[in-house]
Subunit: 488 residues, 2 copies
């Protein structure tokens, strides 16, 4: 390679990250634990490809203000537009529309898959991430929603969240729709503006949202956001509705009946929530795990009935001692129109989705670091390249005993080799010099002990003189000795 | 949704496939078994994102005739070109160039990841598939190649291939290079033409390849392929070289010394193979698992030293009774220049890669169907929607006992429910009618038994009258009875 060739800069595209062993171990552990729960609920694994035709993805993008934007799109040889999937639901709808006749019905599937969003990246905001979805397609029963909610709760628990660290909050789009119809709101645009205003309750509080429901709101910077244009009494009704959530599911239902009662759609929504409540109770899911909360909106336009959100309740502190609120780790709801986009025939469906690395971070904050078991191999130090076959026979013996091990294969001296073993978080280094090979012995350096001592000892020289944790043993005693170190 | 809206067609892009539970279970099992082996060898999990800047991927595409083609490319907001990765090696080289200072050296990683090739799809030829790669970056030692080869062999065995079903074939680019230099070949173009000719040995045999090494070859259709332009004696030497492989590694090395002996590069290649042989022997990898085969070329331009290929030896028959030869399931080699593309500094590296679904198909053909354990849940039949809470309490009990179970959530009658349970390959259906709820009993229909009987019984009516495998039990005996069915 000559110097006059211009070299590419080594960097990943913005918003894309490389994943190291610790994170991958945590994600794999979540996959394994959550899959076991989902399969126990009768859901089968199913996944689609990364690319879909753009028309099949549709304009159901998360951000309703930018339809047809937000995806990574490219043209195929035949000039058809394709795009990387931005969620796992749109490809499922495509598959179901294509294969409906051949599927068991209802079709219950779950998936772990990468999704891509062509959005502006930021801290903790990536353009590529892994989602875990579960969906029941072909059941209009509210019990199907209840199953998904119960399963989501059990899955989060299996992943490592303690009871009380999370809660599933449930609402139904039909309630707010019924309320709005009674208040004389008829256009989809106005309904959407109300949904968007309610979605800001967390950030702006009821007073801020009241402006957004009415004429509009000017923020601190002086920027004006147009409101939904509701009358004062209609805005009051919406705010009373969103505040009707109680710790007890039955109490919330009673309260809601008073607030929204009277419209056919609202009554339908209430009846659905009541059946969800009964199924949850049958499944043993109490109010400590799942409550009704009318302030839950969920941004996606495509929801048609029940919506739910998994909220993390655990509080932790950041580096500056400030409390971090994790908020939502996932959500979902009923989307009865998504398959109809293709076929014209409505197919009832409901699902739940969570972000895998978001859950992994939350677990870490909760003291459940699923990646912590990632450690390095036992490292066999290289003294003389001539003894390589002896080193390899040794690592083969350790591996056959189930112990991760490797011969150091760089070209550096003793010091660099020990540093390497330390950086890999190796439990031990093994020294097999010429003398030891002749004598049938082996020397083990206990690196865990070394690391532990070095943090508590100030007189490094004295510590080094004692050579703590270094022992020379007959070869036959090597594996038991290593096991003692690994199990310590 | 009104009818005047034009509906998108529900189809996946060409060359992209949807993955059902059975295939996903097989791939997940391979991931789990192979990861365990690779981690025992001291390799850590590491993965990059799907998209890379196109200049970082370079023009090392598998098909050397089409540099800069064969990838799915798109422009970012800032007009930089990005592309979906076509393998896992180019992104690794980018990461290493970017992070070299902070990495443990050598850096030993493995990855399971999706790759994309924008090529013409065909039967068994997809545009998206999963690869498993392992690489050691930062070691020039031939022993690093030997470790990768031994690990590849052990990984294939752990995945389910029996000894004798596969063999690792090893060669070294330096041997043929040395031979060609001695024969007066100096240009890279001519060397590449020789490599391409040798790569066709399998298909054309030595006589066909002799034409391609010389003036050129006219095929049956009359189409002419230009040759490498070697003299007759040089072509003979190349063919003698490729035929020097023997069952014994030492014998092959001796033979090769005679055929290519004399050039510095050839001698270097031989010395490397000899050290690989010794390390493999130290690791306990005999000639039944790894041999030297000078006819192995590997298509990728970027290999600089040892190359290796995992060949499946198992023979199976297709539907027409014709023998299927699986051929190569994976391969790899030494690529010392890939990181230097970015940094100008050569970083020695070696790796092995296999196609996960290709291995899964091979395992299936060898009678090792890793996906076979995929079965459906126990299905609780719905008689009366009023009893839903009782049904849900029952499935909750089964799930808590570790038995996959679900309440049927469609809206159809008894017959459709039994058909559903059958299609899901459910082991049993449970009938919990009003009478049974009152009596504290439950009825189990053993669907496995039903399926077994139905295939052996001609008089279907008589079989149905006997209602085989249906029993009514006290509720407390349900779980033990289901376990007996599941374990049968």
């Amino acid at each position: 390679m000559t110097d006059d060739i211009s070299r590419p800069l080594a960097r990943a595209p913005r918003g894309f990250v490389d994943h190291r062993a610790r994170d991958l171990a945590a994600e794999r552990e979540i996959l394994s634990r959550v899959s076991a729960v989902y399969e126990r609920y009768g859901f089968e694994a199913f996944d689609t490809g990364a690319l879909e035709y753009a028309d099949a993805l549709g304009k159901f993008l998360p951000d309703a203000d930018r339809p047809n934007e937000g995806v990574f799109a490219l043209q195929d040889d035949d000039e058809q537009w394709m795009a990387l999937r931005y969620d796992l639901t749109a490809p499922l709808a495509r598959f179901v529309a294509q294969s409906w006749e051949t599927l068991p019905k209802p079709f219950r599937r779950y998936a772990f898959g990468t999704v891509w969003r062509n959005e502006k990246p930021g801290p903790g905001r990536f353009r590529e991430f892994t989602q875990c979805d579960a969906d029941t397609v072909g059941s209009a029963r509210p019990e199907a929603d209840a199953e998904i909610i119960a399963m989501a709760a059990e899955g989060l628990g299996a992943a490592g969240l303690a009871q009380g660290d999370y809660v599933l909050k449930i609402n139904n789009r039909k309630l707010l729709n019924g309320l709005l119809v009674r208040a004389g709101v008829t256009t989809e645009g106005q309904k959407l503006a109300v949904l968007r205003a309610v979605d800001k309750l967390d950030r702006l509080g009821p007073d801020g949202v009241r402006y957004l429901l009415g004429e509009g709101r000017k923020d601190e910077s002086g920027a004006f956001t147009k409101g939904a244009g509701l009358s004062t009494s209609a805005a009051d009704a919406v705010l009373a509705f969103t505040a009707a959530g109680r710790a007890d599911r039955t109490e919330t239902l009673d309260l809601l009946a008073n607030v929204i009662g009277g419209s056919a759609e609202g009554d339908e929504g209430l009846a659905e929530l009541s059946r969800i409540d009964q199924a949850l109770t049958g499944l043993g899911v109490g109010a400590d795990q799942a409550i009704f909360d009318p302030s839950v909106v969920r941004g996606l336009e495509y929801y048609t009935g029940a919506v739910f959100e998994a909220e993390l309740l655990l509080r932790s502190l950041d580096e500056k001692g400030q409390p971090i609120r994790f908020g939502s780790v996932g959500g979902g709801g009923r989307y009865d129109d998504l398959v109809a986009r293709f076929t014209g025939e409505p197919v009832p469906a409901t699902g739940f989705s969570f972000g895998v690395s978001r859950l992994a971070s939350a677990l870490r904050a909760a003291g459940q670091d699923l990646g912590r078991q990632t450690r390095g191999p036992v490292v066999v130090i290289v003294f003389s390249p001539d003894d390589m076959p002896a080193y390899f026979a040794l690592v083969a013996e350790l591996r056959a005993a189930g112990i991760a091990a490797e011969v150091y294969l760089g070209s550096s001296g003793m010091k660099a080799q020990m540093k390497y073993a330390d950086r890999r978080l190796s439990p031990a280094a093994i020294i097999l010099g010429g003398d030891e090979i002749l004598a049938g012995t082996v020397t083990i350096k206990d690196l865990d002990l070394g690391r532990a001592l070095s943090t508590g000892v100030t007189d490094n020289a004295a510590w080094r003189a004692e050579r703590p944790g270094q022992q020379t043993l007959p070869r036959a005693e090597l594996i038991p000795a290593l096991r003692r170190i690994l199990e310590a």
